[in-house]
Subunit: 374 residues, 2 copies
């Protein structure tokens, strides 16, 4: 019996070997695609081509008796790896001539990440960090764009110190996670083109393909258009947003999220229950939750405090959140199931169809997590 | 130029067709493996075999110049689908003869899910729901095991009503998400074998392979061993836990998690910012967070209130959480960055190496989410 099973397993191994060999061949073709795209100055990520490919892959998977949903996941995974591979290569340049780009805070993670991509597209990159202010004249000379990427608490002073050295034709841009105030300061300090940017990812991503770049035009958008076009050639999704609306959303997306994770982690510590112990009792969904909280504490305390306590408006929002919690906690103290269910239903109405989408997407995540780590 | 690209894309399509054809062949072999395992009475999920397979797959992927980490994800995905396929087939039976299993609350999702698996293993399944109490004598007659799977607020009364009808040799088990109190009630009401169970997944899973089943032995564990062996043959991971430790962990895993999601969702509603709008400003990590919160609101309000307000101890824990929040919120009001960073560092020490693991696992999730949905 076990011999029959062993023989079947050898057949599986042999099929898997053939799949690996085909994936290798696929990589070789993808390398040629990279070259061809580079020559034709085409971006890495073409949404239209991906969805077309997904449709035909689903159809052909169904013809082979495979589950089309599963097959699409499978294809997305292959295509993700393919984009990653293309991103290690060179990129087309958005401009006929090489541009000079200066990163202020050039030794930070985001600066180094983007410097790599500018260089891989044939531009020239300079770096100005804490110890380089004595060379500010030569570093800003004939530079086409300056990108300020320093911790938020230093952004205002850096802009004031830097701006007087810039030529009126230089694009002044920033990567700060608050936009309204910083944009105002840049416009006041620099008479030339101004562009607010906020890349919605960390410095640890392997490539920029599919990543979201939020853009707030400040002054003379035509002069900085090449910057956004260049990001598009790296495969980034670019979205123009209103600075005030951006900041309001960020109070929740960055402020509240980090604060909630702190509350969660801090209370686990208060209860003295180690995350490793809780994993013994975890459903895949709580495992995912715990991982999302735990990742915060692999980061830097000062950066964390900067994000949560960023500005008065964010602090007021968190105070309002505390008051909100107070009201809900009263329902718990009163063991008021009816009021609790009412609150729940009101939120359900507010979430509407999104709840169904969330169930599906998070269900996908949870299955992946169970496949990979359980 | 675009002709060269089109030709390369045709080559990719042709390679993808060959991969699909191999996946189909693989499914055929997996179907034979299922049959062989059934004949040999072997479980679907064999952790040892999976890790061995993963090691050799990584090695061979590296030989083909593919990233071993990526290749392992890829393999886990193929193997997950393979387990799912095996789970649609029949299962070996843990006992020489068919057992009779009665589900109380038999029309609920968990009952129906497990009833399916018992039947697929050759056992006989009965169902007792609200309207069947007039037939309780015949339904409990000669039954080998009774599994109580009713909403938590009805568990105690159902046990009291049911127990007098059971033969002293019948195993009394339950699926309730609280263990200490329910186990005490079962032991008091029934003189025969007692086993507390808590499957750590919802009724919507496609198969039980790799799912966690927590077990609290009550009385005469030898008499109920076949139940756990049967679950093992479905591929479940079985963990014996102390009922009190289980309940303490569940206050956090179920109670606090659901409560935090309510706080988050309820505050978004208070702010009037629709989830769809926030997605426009979301990093993949916040998207994952929002999906984890949003999924709660695709569920039932009453079930939700039952989970959060389950018992006095859980409510006291949530009150303690409110007080804890109060203390942290004071740091926000005072804009006390230093104390905030201190709190952060204390939690980081408490999380220890787990934070690194969390960064890696959640990073994996976030990449999958970006590949699939962005």
């Amino acid at each position: 019996m076990s011999e029959a099973l062993a023989e079947l397993r050898r057949r599986l191994d042999s099929i898997d070997d053939k799949i690996l060999e085909l994936l290798r061949q696929r990589n070789d073709v993808v390398a040629e695609v990279s070259q061809a795209k580079l020559a034709a100055e085409l971006p890495v990520f073409v949404p239209h081509r991906e969805s077309e490919k997904a449709r035909s892959f689903r159809r052909r998977a169904a013809e082979q008796g495979l589950d089309p949903d599963w097959a699409e996941d499978f294809l997305r995974m292959i295509m993700g790896a393919s984009r990653a591979q293309q991103s290690t290569a060179r990129f087309p340049r958005a401009t006929p001539e090489a541009k000079r780009v200066l990163f202020v805070g050039g030794e930070g993670g985001m600066s180094r990440l983007f410097a790599h991509f500018f260089k891989a597209s044939g531009h020239r990159v300079r770096s100005l960090d804490r110890d380089d202010w004595n060379r500010v004249e030569s570093l800003t000379a004939e530079v086409d764009a300056v990108i300020v990427a320093v911790p938020i608490r230093r952004t205002a002073s850096v802009i004031e110190r830097l701006a007087p050295h810039l030529d009126a034709s230089t694009v002044l841009a920033d990567f700060t996670s608050q936009k309204a105030d910083v944009l105002r300061r840049m416009l006041a300090a620099h008479p030339g083109p101004v562009l607010g940017l906020h890349p919605m990812h960390g410095p640890d991503v392997e490539n920029l393909s599919k990543q979201l770049l939020l853009a707030c035009p400040g002054r003379d958008p035509a002069a900085s258009r090449w910057l956004l076009q260049q990001a598009g050639l790296w495969g980034m999704r670019i979205k123009t947003v209103d600075p005030q609306a951006h900041d309001r959303a960020m109070h929740l997306v960055q402020g509240l999220r980090h604060y909630l994770a702190l509350l969660h982690g801090s209370f686990l510590r208060d209860c003295g229950l180690k995350p490793e112990q809780i994993l013994d009792y975890s459903s895949p969904i709580y495992r995912a939750e715990l991982m999302m909280t735990g990742r915060i504490f692999a980061q830097d305390a000062e950066l964390y405090a900067d994000i949560v306590l960023a500005e008065p408006e964010r602090r007021r929002l968190l105070e309002r959140f505390r008051d909100h919690h107070e009201r809900l906690a009263a329902l718990v103290s009163d063991d008021d199931k009816e009021a609790f269910a009412q609150e729940f239903n009101a939120i359900r109405d507010f979430f509407g169809d999104f709840a169904g989408q969330a169930l599906e997407e998070s269900g996908y995540l949870i299955h992946r997590l169970a496949d990979r780590f359980a």
